[in-house]
């Protein structure tokens, strides 16, 4: 497991997201209204929609393609829908963000 620096939390809008490109696919990094940061695969469990493009509310994001709501904490779909994306470990050192990836990353895309 290696920690990679990805930038500062201030680079992400409040209640917004950006993505990080990796050879194995994109990772979505979110910043909530409460200034917490989360990272999950940028790949909706429904039909692969880019979650980083959704609307962020509380600790969840609504997928831009068909409105599934995905928990940023667990990666699981909320409400009646079933499915989950992989969550990615994230460290926040006073605003400096790092994500943990295996050297052989398994992220799907």
């Amino acid at each position: 497991m290696t920690w990679f620096a990805i930038g500062n939390i201030a680079d992400i809008p409040l209640r917004g997201a950006r993505c990080v490109k990796t050879p194995q696919g994109k990772i979505a990094v979110f910043r909530t209204a409460e200034n917490e940061a989360f990272a999950i695969e940028d790949h909706c469990p429904h039909k692969g929609g880019p979650l980083s493009q959704g609307i962020v509310h509380a600790k969840a994001v609504t997928c831009p393609l068909h409105n599934w709501v995905i928990s940023l904490e667990t990666g699981r779909a909320l409400g009646a829908d079933e499915g989950a994306v992989k969550t990615i470990a994230l460290r926040n050192d006073d605003g400096a963000l790092f994500i943990a990836l295996e050297s052989l990353m398994m992220a799907a895309e």
Binding site: C19, T22, P50
Partner: protein, 816 residues
């Protein structure tokens, strides 16, 4: 082995029969239906609300296409059966399809009776039976001219009220001295007449139609006494005749209707008949409750339960005209062996009459206040001896036993077997136990599970009271639909409170209106953002994080996460320079698909998000701005070539379209707004299915609005005719601003217009000059802040974070 069941006619009676049959014997039959009407089974009763605009056709469909597919039923739409061969056991349709049957059900319903007077075949004379008739009436109503309805019964009056509501000048001709003489006594008929006249409907009783006059089309009606009543539309609603021709030709026993036994079987052991075409026990019926009873019986027999038998019962009648309370049941003619009890309240317009025979109720007429209808019906059905409560009987149920006058008390006191829904024969006990047993909380659920209030809807109030009784405070019938799970307030209330309290940020709205979540959800946030943009164009800072991705990045997201880009092409007009620039962009960015849109412009699909600003930069150099093809806002203004080129053109439709688009681009609206301008009524720009459209005519510009051509299809309504291009622009802009200020987020203009009422909109935009000017000015003010090209802003660096990854990691050499 499955048997072949063929059904002729696809009305409400066989539809209900199939529901029962599928429940009882799902696999016994292979079912084929032939229906002369080219459509599925819909709720014929609800045609009047469709006519008046209170409902859409889609809302009254009983079995959609999917239902037939699911149950493996073959439905031939638009096939009229022209022959039954009982020896060969086949039926043949007018399109030449022949089908064999093991069992045949005839459910051909009725045909409207046509008065045999001269002129009955003139164009403009229609009956009132099916959706085609409603559509013909709606079309005729657009002219807002004069209509005559012949027949003052249930159907005629519903047609008259609907047409009047649509702006026609309506006269009802009724041959008897009293309206609805078969259901009402003269006193109630009088109150009804007064009420309808108050709504601007003229009523002529004892009117004998002699002829329908007109040259090539209807121009009026001539009465026996020589009077001529002008009309461009004549609706004949003088009764129905069971449709028995086919059965008669096949040699079945036919009287007034097709004669059937108590098990709905005809004189041929392989053939059943039900619905309005059937005659059972010497009676034919024209209301759905007994037809549904026939459906139940027929289904039992087809499923092999031979004991089921049809029993006659009286069905109460109600008039489905909003705001008129009328209830009629049983027999109420005067007679020596009868007594009556009457109550009148002139000021309140209330009239009640109960007719007794041997201390038992045999008939009831209620006008103005019908809450006790169910109770009287119950007493009559059970033949209760009412001598004990004679003194107070007429005051209704709440008076009996000194119960308090709580509106709920009446319903609470009804016995469990009291019939609440007459159409579907659902009693109180069934509704209450289903609500409790299945944990139902909404009216729709109760409809789905019990069928109560699912047909004509006139018992909805009662059903809601039962829900309140069963669920207690947790059910409030008039509850508004909340915006989303974050609040109990509906869109209208939120809009009102935003203005009243001067709330100018999303957090302020959420705080002051006590949102239940910390920062809303993907439903309420975009709505609030729109409301604030609309109400405070100068002060509110647009919250991009509360916009959907398309509006956030000003392009349309596609299923694979790439985007499409549509530059504005004013009025659908372009030139070689623009086309060349587009071609260069396509080559440079290797854009996979170039497509012409339905809105007369060019769509570039499959662009990576990171490339968007560069694509826009190149397009911008050629003079393009965003076409906002992603916006809940002004999309396109389609045009035809108009008087500059077309030999039919009456005005410069292209010029006007471009002018409108240049004036209005950039504005945000509750839902997308698409327009078109056609140069003449040939309408090549398809303006009459747009949110707002213009049809140019010699005398000026006819402004249309509230059309739809998406999930719903709907022709536009006419707002009015104006003389000059300037006026056309002013009216269109004012209408748009009214819609912007009043509609709910995501509510298209046609839905909003239906809710607000077309007349109200015409009044504010066409008739009230001050209002119109004020709307116009507010739109112009907000455009100052809205007309900034979002693409060039982003080319200059705005929202950079949207178009670049935050980091690129894990590659041998980081790319940034």
């Amino acid at each position: 082995m499955t048997e072949k069941l063929v059904i002729i006619g696809n009305g409400m009676a066989p539809g209900r029969m199939l529901e029962h049959l599928i429940e009882k014997a799902p696999d016994r039959y292979e079912v084929t239906i032939f229906n002369a009407e080219p459509r599925v089974n819909y709720d014929r009763i609800m045609l009047s609300p469709v006519l008046s605009g209170e409902k859409e056709y889609e809302e009254i469909i009983i079995h959609g296409d999917g239902w037939y597919i699911k149950h493996g039923i073959t439905l031939y739409k638009g096939h009229r059966i022209v022959a039954i061969d009982r020896d060969a056991r086949t039926v043949t349709s007018d399109h030449g399809v022949t089908e064999t049957y093991d069992k045949l059900v005839i459910a051909t319903g009725s045909v409207p009776f046509i008065l045999p007077v001269p002129g009955k075949d003139l164009p403009g004379v229609i009956t009132y039976r099916d959706l085609d008739d409603v559509q013909a009436m709606l079309l005729a109503a657009q002219s807002r001219e004069k209509a005559v309805v012949i027949g003052g019964g249930l159907l005629g009056l519903e047609a008259a009220a609907g047409l009047a509501g649509r702006g026609m000048d309506v006269t009802v001709l009724h041959v008897m001295p009293t309206l609805m003489d078969r259901q009402l006594d003269p006193a109630a008929g009088y109150l009804l007449e007064k009420e309808l006249e108050g709504r601007g409907i003229k009523i002529i009783c004892k009117a004998n139609t002699k002829a329908i006059v007109g040259n090539g089309k209807v121009e009026g009606i001539e009465l026996d006494d020589g009077r001529i009543i002008p009309a461009t539309l004549v609706v004949m609603a003088v009764g129905i005749r069971p449709s028995v021709g086919l059965a008669k030709e096949a040699g079945l026993a036919v009287n007034r209707g097709i004669v059937v036994d108590q098990g709905m079987q005809t004189s041929d052991g392989h053939i059943w008949a039900l619905g309005e075409c059937a005659e059972v026990g010497g009676m034919v019926y024209g209301l759905v409750a007994p037809l549904y009873e026939m459906a139940r019986v027929a289904a039992s027999h087809l499923a092999g339960e031979r004991s089921a038998a049809f029993v006659h019962s009286d069905t109460p009648t109600k008039l489905k005209v909003t705001g008129i309370e009328l209830f009629s049941l049983g027999d109420f003619a005067d007679g020596d062996d009868r007594e009556e009890i009457v109550l009148r309240d002139a000021a309140a317009g209330v009239y009640k009459r109960v007719v007794l025979k041997g201390n038992r109720i045999i008939g009831t007429v209620l006008y103005g206040e019908t809450a006790d209808g169910a109770w009287f019906n119950d007493l009559k059905k059970k033949e209760t001896d009412v001598s004990e409560m004679r003194q107070t009987l007429i005051f209704g149920q709440a008076f009996q036993g000194g119960a308090p006058l709580d509106p709920m008390a009446a319903v609470a006191a009804l016995p469990d077997d009291a019939e609440i829904c007459g159409c579907n024969g659902v009693c109180k006990g069934k509704i209450v136990s289903t609500i409790a047993g299945k944990g139902l909380t909404s009216l729709d659920d109760v409809r789905a599970h019990t069928k109560a209030s699912a047909s004509c809807g006139s018992c909805t109030g009662l059903v809601e009271q039962l829900m309140t009784l069963t669920l207690g405070e947790s059910y409030s019938p008039a509850a508004v639909q909340p915006m989303c799970g974050c609040t109990d307030l509906g869109h209208d209330e939120v809009r009102r409170l935003i203005k009243a309290k001067g709330l100018k940020t999303i957090p302020a709205v959420m705080q002051e209106l006590e949102w239940k979540t910390s920062c809303g959800c993907a439903k309420c946030r975009p709505a609030l953002n729109y409301y604030l943009v609309c109400d405070f164009p100068d002060e509110y800072a647009d919250d991009y994080q509360s916009r959907f991705i398309n509006e956030r990045v000003h392009a349309n997201i596609q299923k694979d996460g790439t985007y499409s880009v549509v530059p504005r092409m004013w009025g659908g007009v372009t030139n070689s320079g623009e086309l060349r620039a587009i071609a260069d962009v396509v080559d440079k960015f290797e854009i996979p698909l170039v497509k012409v849109t339905g809105g007369q412009r060019i769509d570039l699909l499959g662009i990576e998000k990171e490339d968007l600003p560069a694509v826009w930069a190149d397009l911008g150099k050629a003079g393009f701005i965003s076409g906002q093809a992603y916006a809940k806002g002004l999309r396109t203004v389609k045009t035809c070539v108009g008087s500059d080129w077309c030999r039919f053109g009456t005005q410069d439709s292209t010029g006007l379209g471009i002018r409108i688009e240049k004036f209005m681009w950039g504005s945000w609206t509750p839902a997308k707004l698409k327009m078109a301008v056609s140069g003449c009524p040939r309408n090549c720009a398809e303006a009459t299915c747009k949110d707002i459209g213009v049809i140019c005519v010699d005398s000026g510009f006819e402004i249309h609005f509230a059309g739809a051509a998406g999930l719903d299809i709907k022709g536009t309504e006419v707002l009015g005719l104006v003389r000059t291009e300037d006026e056309a622009l002013e009216h269109i802009v004012a209408l748009t601003q009214m819609y912007r200020e009043q509609a709910r987020y995501l509510e298209r203009i046609y839905k909003w217009a239906k809710r607000i009422g077309l007349d109200e909109i015409r009044r504010q935009i066409m008739d009230d000059t001050d209002k119109r000017k004020a709307f116009f000015d507010r739109f112009v003010f907000s455009q100052k802040f809205a007309q900034v090209d979002p693409w060039s802003e982003r080319v200059s660096g705005k929202d950079k974070h949207e178009f670049r990854p935050m980091a690129t990691i894990g590659y041998p050499q980081a790319a940034e």
